[in-house]
Symmetry: C2
Subunit: 355 residues, 2 copies
DNA sequence: TTGAAAGCGCTAACAG
DNA sequence: CTGTTAGCGCTTTCAA
């Protein structure tokens, strides 16, 4: 078993100092000043034995870990795992590794996780914040660590946020339902103050108000089991003066709602029109296929990475606090269109990304 | 901004040596030998200022990182992300963090990732191996690092494997199709030599042979786009002498297949019976609902964690090479049962886990 | 029962 | 242009 060599072993072997090797390895200003012959000798030797500096030692010495901490609500949720995947790939390419963790939207858990990340000296954070985590995020900022907040954010604290146009998405979706003749439209959402949900509600209400309709809304508790969710939605639909259209606030609410509607033996879209928020690769295959507000997962991920890499490379340059709201896309399918001869899947034209 | 204190700062403050503090912190044999008063003073002071030893320094000194490297095919696949989630939660509870990475089943990528993990001195590995990665896995074993191989494995190398009973699952599923009157049954799978796929094929063929039927099989290339996949399956179904039943080898093959069947305007299960391998939370909502071989995600995850934690805690105890094959469960739904009055969703009785 | 000293492998002043 | 030195914060002989 070949013993790992250290930079000093190599220094001895080559008759130069560890310092010189370190300079060569780093390149940059100081690296230039090493004479060509020496540099070549070092480089080729290192190449030949496949030496790689020990990142732990570098970390201890420099305080840089080349690790990013990523905090999401639930990595097994398709939305977060899709983003996780893209972010991970991009960041690995830039030499960073990722610590992932899921908060379940639990403040205490998120706090612990953030502390763990900090102890481990992660170089930057990507976080989908839980409620009440403002203080911890501010602390990270004070330590001059780059933090990208995504999916939701706190308007009261100055962070760099990558989100989507929630209000716009909900507005467009609701309008679409209205234009297709639905009038008793409800918004089924989470009983949550988080901004992504309140914006969706606001967008919904705006459309409803413009059309002079009555606003109906069901707020369910977070972490309600699928069965209970379904039951609650069922009761709501049958109880609440004949709802004939629903915009669901999240993808799993839509799934539970679909189950409820199935149990109720109602026909989509004849009896009730459906739109989900957050598209899903299976919605297309449902019968009828399900209309949804799609989030630009790819764009969100790229934006997060781009901002983070920038902050990481520009030494100590603090990120400007700014909210990037990426446009959503309404994918119209059968569940929201009463017109029997549904032919082509229409995608709304994408508005351009404001970056 | 409060400066992080080191163990020496505390030593000075308390008038003891860093050594003593270290002993107290570690507990164990050596910790016992510190006198009570001193120990209490140290403990309460540390508690009061919230001191935590720097894990990077510990890592450098001891070679233990308290990090586990987890390599999956694609973290955005529901199967892998579900497992990732559970493993992550359990391991965090034991003080470990996780590096995740996705291989896309690409050998070269997997190699790089494994090297990265190694450089970072991860304490253990959880790997869904790509083809051709045997040598690298053996190297890790030689370094006496615990490695848990899952989802698939290499029969020719002695590793600890956590998999499912692929042959049994496929056999049961095929038998189920046969019992429900389907006779021209095909297996749609990946053109792959990996063991999980070849075992599924074997299970399928066994059932087909026992029933004296003709074996039909479509092997598609890995990483075929959804469109092409769908087209290929479409061609296969219509071209291949009237297939009337399909067992799909993976969840995404099933989804593409469903799309194909939809395009073909065939009626499930009347024209064609369908069973998927690897259940999905949405299969229940499809019309008709889709029968599937469910993998015991929870059990797989628990087993992985249990084995890993054991290996990690028992100093230097090498894991015994052994394959744990967990039982699958056939979730019978509408897509495979011609009998019109489908009433209750039947779950096959679970065979007991062999642990 | 406690402490001094020697590093783990690397980097960064500061000399030369 | 290159090398010496002094740590980063911790653990672990070894000696007291």
């Amino acid at each position: 078993m070949k013993k790992k060599l250290s930079i000093h072993d190599i220094a001895r072997e080559l008759g130069v100092s560890a310092t010189t090797i370190s300079f060569v390895l780093k390149g940059g200003e100081r690296g230039k000043k090493v004479s060509e012959p020496v540099k070549q000798r070092i480089l080729s030797y290192i190449e030949s034995i496949g030496y790689k500096p020990n990142p732990i030692a570098q970390n201890l010495r420099t305080g840089k870990s080349k690790i990013i901490g990523m905090l999401v609500e639930d990595i097994s949720d398709p939305f977060f795992s899709a983003i996780g995947r893209i972010v991970e790939d991009s960041l690995y390419k830039s030499g960073y590794k990722i610590f992932h963790a899921s908060t379940d939207n639990d403040t205490e858990k998120a706090r612990n996780l953030l502390h763990l990340f900090r102890e481990r000296q992660v170089d930057g954070y990507i976080v989908a914040p839980t409620p009440g985590i403002q203080k911890e995020i501010l602390e990270l900022l004070h330590e001059a660590k780059p933090v990208i907040v995504f999916d939701r954010y706190f308007p009261e604290i100055a962070t760099t946020n990558v989100v989507i146009d929630n209000a716009g998405g909900a507005y467009t979706a609701t309008m679409h339902l209205i234009e297709n003749g639905f009038t008793k439209i409800a918004f089924v959402t989470l009983d949550s103050d988080q901004i992504q949900m309140s914006e969706r509600l606001a967008g919904f209400n705006k459309a409803i108000a413009e059309a002079n309709l009555e606003s109906r809304c069901l707020k369910v508790r977070y972490k309600t089991s699928v069965q209970n969710l379904s039951a609650e939605i069922k009761e709501f639909i049958s109880g609440y003066a004949g709802v004939d259209g629903i915009l669901f606030g999240t993808n799993y609410l839509a799934v539970s709602g679909l189950k409820a509607i199935q149990d109720l033996q109602m026909i989509i879209p004849n009896d009730i029109g459906i739109v989900g928020f957050d598209d899903n690769s299976h919605f297309e295959l449902f019968t009828p296929s399900i209309t949804a507000v799609a989030q630009p997962v790819e764009q969100i991920s790229k934006k997060i990475v781009q901002l983070l890499i920038k902050a990481l490379s520009e030494n100590d340059t603090v990120l400007t606090a700014k909210t990037y709201a990426l446009p959503t896309e309404l994918i119209v399918r059968e569940s929201s269109v009463r017109n029997a001869t549904f032919a082509v899947k229409t995608n709304m034209s994408k508005s351009e990304t404001k970056l």
